[in-house]
Amino acid sequence: DTAVSQTPKYLVTQMGNDKSIKCEQNLGHDTMYWYKQDSKKFLKIMFSYNNKELIINETVPNRFSPKSPDKAHLNLHINSLELGDSAVYFCASSQVYGGGETQYFGPGTRLLVL
């Protein structure tokens, strides 16, 4: 009965590879987000989607491409991985957006680029 789930939990890959991270929420929320947490544990938003439509693209390199097949899923595809992409990526969801709604986070995907 996990609310927000992500796969995989760990991802180790070589520079230059392409990888995807999947996120699913069963809360019935309309809005989903991707956040990046760096080595200093600082969380920063990357993207948000509402009902499958992109709302925020927070100056993220275009090597990162989110895709939302339906409002319960938000995947993150990363092309040509770089060392600096190593971080923990969190998916989150909220009922709607912009009115102070609580965002609920997934367990994270730990990406290590070698």
Partner: protein, 113 residues
């Protein structure tokens, strides 16, 4: 520029020793202020949402308060299981059409038995 600063960065307490964590913010209009708890290797776990100055919320040993410039997370008689990183985040009014949260860097709390 919208900004969130948490202090201290790290805090060590003895079990039963009450203390407070601070979250100072500068935002253009506040839609909400959020407190999360994050355990090592896990995602942030929601604790509280505060919307207006003077508001207070409690949960077990935790109490969150809000003023126009800062929020406090008071921990009363902490136990070792309260050890975690506590994150503060704000949703500025400028994010009303995006839902974006701006996070502080967190306070890592260690409670020793």
């Amino acid at each position: 520029e919208d900004q969130v600063t948490q202090s201290p960065e790290a805090l060590r307490l003895q079990e039963g020793e009450s203390s407070s964590l601070n979250c100072s913010y500068t935002v253009s209009g506040l839609r909400g202020l959020f407190w999360y708890r994050q355990d090592p290797g896990k995602g942030p776990e929601f604790l509280f949402t505060l919307y207006s100055a003077g508001e207070e919320k409690e949960k077990e040993r935790l109490k969150a308060t809000l003023t126009k410039k800062e929020s406090f997370l008071h921990i009363t008689a902490p136990k070792p299981e309260d050890s975690a990183t506590y994150l503060c985040a704000v949703q500025p009014g400028s994010s009303s059409n995006t839902g974006k949260l701006i996070f502080g860097q967190g306070t890592t709390l260690q409670v020793k038995p």
